[in-house]
Amino acid sequence: MNQSGLSLMDKLRIELSVQRVDFVLDARVPRVKRRQIRNELRSNLTEAAQQVGVEAAIRQLGDLQALANSYLDLYRGRFDFRAGYRWAIIAYAAIQVLSLAIFFAFSTGVRAGGGHPASYLFWSGFGPFGGNAAAHSFELLLLSPAHILIMAVAFAIGTSYKLILRR
């Protein structure tokens, strides 16, 4: 039963606004607090939409990014997992870029020596780079224990460096 008197489209627009705010808080604000914020926003927006229409209700909310940032300032958790993910991805990309750089630096010489210049491997040895000096080979490892370790360290630094800097 539609108790709110709002159309499905109105409810979707309200939900979209709520989710836009929630997206900024994702992985930064504790789950329980995020759920409370979503519920309160949904409730207030529904109430406002019943009074002034959904468009005006969303407009009255102001800049959603600014609202999300206000909540973020207020309820930011100890660890910023979003920053952690970003740091881990950057670390992985950096390893791969470095692998390519090493590959391009050596491939010409290795090819001249008759070796196999490079190959892509998955989980071969500790990494992050592989190869065999005797066979003049260089392996670009897509994933290795070293990758995981470096990404884990980057993730840990990314989640907590702001906390450490604040001290």
Binding site: L6, I37, E40, S43, A57, L64, Y75
Partner: protein, 121 residues
């Protein structure tokens, strides 16, 4: 030409907590209702998006408490009321505000000298 009925948003931001505490001292309210009450009292430019985090800040600081109340017209409403510390905070902020107004009064009541030519540009 500046709109004399509009309030400076920065000034409003500074006293929003006091206004909310005062309204909640009158009666328990939920977020949107507080926005409406502010609008009815002449603060029409106060946006919902500045009231909700302000309520969150007051709740975090222990000045207000909340409870969920089921609503027949939609999702449950979060009602806020003043806590004991909220009454103390309201009294303290009111004193600070009145003291500021008293201090500003003599400054604002002094006659402004004729504007120099450079300032008129």
């Amino acid at each position: 030409m500046p709109d004399h009925d509009a309030h400076d948003s920065q000034l409003l931001k500074g006293v929003l907590s006091l206004a909310l505490l005062r309204l909640l001292a009158e009666r328990e309210s939920y977020g949107y209702e507080l926005v409406m009450r502010l609008h009815e009292l002449g603060l029409g430019e106060v946006q919902d998006g500045s009231v909700y985090p302000a309520l969150g800040r007051l709740e975090r600081d222990g000045h207000i408490t909340s409870r969920l109340v089921a609503s027949s017209s939609g999702p449950a409403r979060k009602y806020y009321r003043l806590s004991r510390s909220g009454y103390a905070e309201m009294a303290h902020t009111e004193l600070a505000w009145n003291s500021l107004v008293r201090a500003l009064g003599p400054i604002l009541s002094r006659p402004v000298p004729t504007r120099p030519k450079e300032a008129a540009k």
